[in-house]
């Protein structure tokens, strides 16, 4: 029994070691704290700071601090604080769901290509290359234009254009791991292919995929911001990029309406990339030895 415990502890130790590494990385921890604050702000904000982001509350383009509006009002006289809080939820929701979709497609394609090799790999990698040839933003603009600009469609569009990077990483990890002895051993024991993929290879391929997934959340947020900056988003939804886009004509009078939401996007994505870098250092065994 104690032997089993010892084994389990050993099995867990790489992750606890990675966790230790991550905890000691100040930049990554700072990023994580900022990220948690933004998520909390987005979801608890509406209860702490009551206000309708769509409602005109004061004269348009009131500068920050005046009349009790901490961040001022936009060109329609809407309270910037309410809008930012509301926008945070959209950014985070789209960022997470699009990244999830990206990772799902990417892992599926990459795992099949890397595991089966041969013509399966050939076909799947040609498809991946094909998707890399299409400029992502233009492609998703076309999707949104043809199929409508609802949030699910935007998420789908982002997911559809971003997965090749994940697929490539997954494939190369699978190609590497499938040749390792423990996979051969599992195969020799008669483990089925689906079990090999999901329980033997995938868990070992995860570290770089996790890092990529974290970065994907950041680029999905940037992507959504770009689309909504161009006005290609659900008009009934406020997002950070959309605030910038709709206030763009008024920068001469009220540059803060553009600057502030930009800072929000920047800080969020920066925090995510710091966390991603921290995960990379923590999960990459080569770096850990240094």
């Amino acid at each position: 029994m104690s032997e089993q415990q010892e084994f389990l502890e050993k099995a867990r130790s790489p992750f606890s070691e990675a966790f230790e590494m991550f905890r000691k990385n100040h930049a990554a921890m700072a990023g994580l704290v900022v990220l948690l604050l933004i998520v909390l702000g987005g979801f608890l904000g509406p209860y702490l700071y009551v206000g309708d982001p769509f409602e005109m509350v004061w004269a348009p383009t009131t500068p920050p601090g005046e009349e009790g509006y901490f961040l001022g009002t936009d060109y329609l006289g809407r309270d910037m604080v309410s809008m930012l809080i509301y926008g945070a939820r959209v950014s985070i929701a789209i960022g997470l769901s699009a990244a999830l979709l990206t990772v799902f497609i990417g892992i599926t394609v990459g795992a099949l290509a890397g595991f089966y090799k041969g013509w399966v790999e050939e076909v799947l990698m040609r498809i991946t290359e094909f998707f890399q040839v299409l400029p992502t933003l233009l492609f998703s603009m076309v999707i949104v234009a043809l199929f409508g600009a609802s949030l699910p469609m935007i998420t789908l569009a982002i997911g559809l254009v971003s997965w090749p990077a994940v697929a490539r990483i997954t494939r190369s990890e699978f190609l590497r791991i499938r040749e390792l002895e423990y996979v051969t051993a599992a195969r020799a024991c008669g483990v089925t292919n689906s079990k090999l993929i999901f329980t033997v290879i995938l868990p070992n391929a995860l570290p770089p995929i996790i890092v990529q997934a974290a970065l994907m959340v950041g680029s999905a947020i940037l992507f959504e911001a770009g689309l909504s900056f161009l006005g290609l988003t659900d008009p009934n939804i406020i997002s950070w990029g959309q605030i910038i886009g709709s206030n763009r004509p008024y920068i001469l009078d009220a540059s803060y309406t553009v600057t502030i939401p930009g800072v929000a996007i920047f800080v969020t994505v920066l925090a995510i990339s710091l966390v991603g870098d921290g995960l990379n250092d923590a999960l990459n065994p080569k770096l850990r030895q240094r």
């Binding site: 400029p135 933003l137 233009l138 234009a145 006005g231």
Partner: protein
């Protein structure tokens, strides 16, 4: 001979990719809600019977899917991307009009990002713990996290509205008199902000990668050989190390080509740059489907050609690229 066959192979593959883009375009048209004629005709209000009839004839809607697809591909390969009912012009004409502006922006930004990125990377690799090295790390984070359209607006506010150094948008000022030189100078002034904005993302990527690959190359055996030959530091860095550390940077630049075009769409929107991105945005708002699909096709063509050129450059830099197959 070997080189000729590889080039032919690459071109064949490029054509296959382009046909795949067309299949995708056509399938999306079919998948979009409503009849194709409806989708296409939305620009003109959708009700005009003559227009609907023309679209049906153009796309052969009475034929089976694959016949329609074949006809579509055949038309595109003879440079006919369809008719824009919004602009009432052939799509090919519309696009060709806007291509030079976008290419100018995209290529200048790529070159600028490459040159500055490589220089920053080399300088910081020579002193990995120096100020410049930290600066490169910092710029890399900035370039990754800042939305490009936001960077553009900030630069616009700073250098066009506050300090009136550069024009706030457009590509040329039609009121500028004078000869070729005055007009070129005017164009250059219009280019500065868009090019710098678009470059920031890629500059960050390239400088970081160049720094990493330079540091790796500086630790190789052949650099030790170069030192043992008694070469000067500059010869070692700029002759022996640089050419080797360029390959990964050029490869990345090739991969980034489609991202540069995506970025250009946003930059064009910020600076009212009269290129493909602005055209795409206008046609999406006008629901001018043939133009949108034509632009998607054309930008894929630009990316593919960009990749071919990258491939050639890589072969020139590294003699091993071709021979490994």
């Amino acid at each position: 001979m070997v080189i000729l066959t590889t080039i032919l192979q690459r071109i064949f593959y490029a054509v296959m990719l382009l046909i795949a883009v067309l299949v995708l375009n056509f399938s999306m048209l079919h998948l979009a809600p409503g009849d194709i004629a409806d989708t296409i005709a939305q620009a003109s209000g959708g009700a005009d019977a003559d227009v609907m009839e023309q679209i049906r004839r153009d796309y052969g809607l009475d034929q089976p899917f694959f016949v329609q697809l074949g006809q579509y591909i055949g038309k595109v390969l003879s440079f006919d991307l369809g008719h824009s009912f919004f602009y009432n012009q052939p799509v090919t004409t519309l696009i060709l009009e806007k291509v030079p502006a976008t290419l100018l922006l995209v290529i200048t930004a790529q070159i600028f990002a490459l040159v500055v990125g490589v220089l920053l990377g080399v300088f910081s690799a020579r002193n990995p713990n120096g100020m410049l090295s930290h600066f490169v790390t910092f710029v890399a984070l900035l370039g990754y996290a800042a939305p490009v359209f936001w960077t553009g607006i900030l630069l616009l506010i700073a250098f066009s509205l506050n300090i009136q150094l550069f024009p706030s948008g457009g590509m040329i000022d039609v009121t500028v008199e004078g000869g070729f030189f005055a007009q070129t100078w005017d164009l250059l002034k219009h280019m500065v902000l868009p090019v710098v904005t678009l470059s920031t993302i890629f500059l960050a990527l390239y400088s970081r990668l160049c720094r990493a690959s330079m540091m790796e190359v500086l630790g190789t055996d052949y650099i030790r050989t170069a030192k043992a030959k008694g070469l000067s530091e500059n010869e070692i860095i700029y002759k022996h190390a640089l050419k080797n550390s360029l390959s990964p940077v050029v490869t990345l630049a090739g991969i980034q080509f489609s991202a540069v075009i995506s970025g250009a769409v946003l930059v064009e929107a910020v600076f009212s740059w009269p290129g493909l991105g602005s055209l795409a945005l206008q046609s999406i708002i006008a629901r001018d489907t043939p133009t949108i699909l034509g632009i998607l096709f054309f930008s894929a063509l630009v990316v593919i050609v960009g990749n071919l050129i990258t491939d050639m450059i890589l072969r020139m830099i590294d003699p091993r690229v071709g021979s490994k197959g």
